[in-house]
């Protein structure tokens, strides 16, 4: 039972932490809860679909279906998070000063809530599909798996609880530093997801590895341990990274930084 709880906890943790971070970072956006809730709902439906078609996905593209699918949705998440981060950094100052004006702006048509929904949807769908696939297999497997189901549900609850704790923690941040801290969280998270996408692209044979193991820090922090996995989700920690993963990581940070600054320069001129 405990083993199943841990499996499901690990599967749910990533989605849960991502949702906590974007919910925290977007706390001044009105109706964000609804968009995120919609993302979770659609994401769960999508996860069930992905689980249902797991066989077809894995045999698609001459066996490369899974890594291609994973890398595409990760890159979509990266672009949505990037958009969100750039948008937030533009508006964060206004937000701290006048939340009401911002609310009006959003209702007039700027669209980050849509990005919020897509990010949530992807996070839930990607990790959720594995959880659904696993739970489904044990729940159709007969009485021998009954305790596993209980464990699974406990694991899911523990994963969600971790997200709630992170969210509560983020809300306690002093308002003066709130947006810079949550934006840093999002930047690192985004770069980490880009590095994960690079791993899957390499797995599918689309990009070269540029060195299989640039360093090996598994002795200090194993990626399979819970702290290692937390760091993997939050900042993209990889114990034995490929060159291409480092390239994607740094490139994402560079692009997001430059875009944010270019927009600032542009705004100052006009």
């Amino acid at each position: 039972m405990l083993a199943t709880a841990i499996i499901l906890f690990r599967e749910v943790l990533e989605a849960s932490l991502i949702i906590a971070i974007i919910l925290g970072a977007s706390k001044t956006i009105p109706n964000r809860g609804k968009w995120v809730a919609a993302g979770i709902g659609i994401g769960l439906a999508g996860a069930s679909l992905v689980a249902l078609f797991a066989d077809q996905i894995s045999s698609a593209f001459s066996g490369n279906g899974q890594p291609l699918f994973n890398s595409s949705i990760l890159l979509l998440a990266v672009s949505m998070l990037g958009w969100h981060s750039i948008w937030m950094s533009q508006h964060s100052k206004k937000m701290t000063e006048n939340i009401q004006v911002l609310g009006n702006n959003i209702q007039k048509g700027t669209k980050p809530p849509f990005a919020l929904m897509i990010i949530t949807l992807i996070a839930v769908m990607r990790e959720g599909s594995e959880a659904v696939l696993f739970l489904w297999a044990i729940s159709t497997g007969g009485a021998q798996y009954n305790t596993m189901i209980t464990g699974g549900i406990l694991g899911v609850m523990a994963g969600i609880l971790s997200g709630i704790l992170l969210y509560k923690g983020l809300l306690r941040l002093p308002i003066r530093h709130f947006f810079s801290i949550t934006n840093a969280f999002i930047l690192l998270l985004t770069a980490g997801l880009a590095a994960q996408a690079a791993g899957f692209l390499n797995q599918a044979g689309i990009v070269p590895s540029l060195g299989n193991q640039i360093w090996n820090s598994s002795r200090f922090l194993s990626q399979t341990s819970i702290p290692g996995q937390l760091m993997h989700i939050l900042i993209g920690y990889t114990a034995r990274p490929m060159g291409i993963q480092i390239v994607f990581y740094l490139l994402t940070l560079f692009i997001l930084f430059s875009l944010t600054h270019l927009i600032k320069i542009h705004k100052n001129k006009t």
């Binding site: 083993a3 797991a54 066989d55 890594p67 299989n212």
Partner: protein, 116 residues
Amino acid sequence: MFYHQAKKFSLIFLICSIFLTNIATAESVIEIKHQQFFPMKIVLPPGKKVKLTLKNNDAIPAEFESTDLSREIIVPGHDQVIVYVGPLDPGNYRFFNDFNRASKGTITVLTPSKRQ
């Protein structure tokens, strides 16, 4: 006993694939049976891309994962998937089933001199 045969088999398989076909990719098969990998230890050639076929004989899906190799892939129940690894440097690379962490295995890539 089983393990030695498996090791011998994979070595023969490996040497055959290197010397007979002499192509850029090597192949290897890992099966999952009763929540265990078989073989649990495989030996792969250095500096080659390797096509790993993962075959799941159980009804429960498995997730073949290796943080050492940066690979993770779901193997649905009674199904098989393909994953490419390498070219790899000599050394040990661990893998495990993320849906059952008790089942683990190691890929060993030998140094060229040792193999001959």
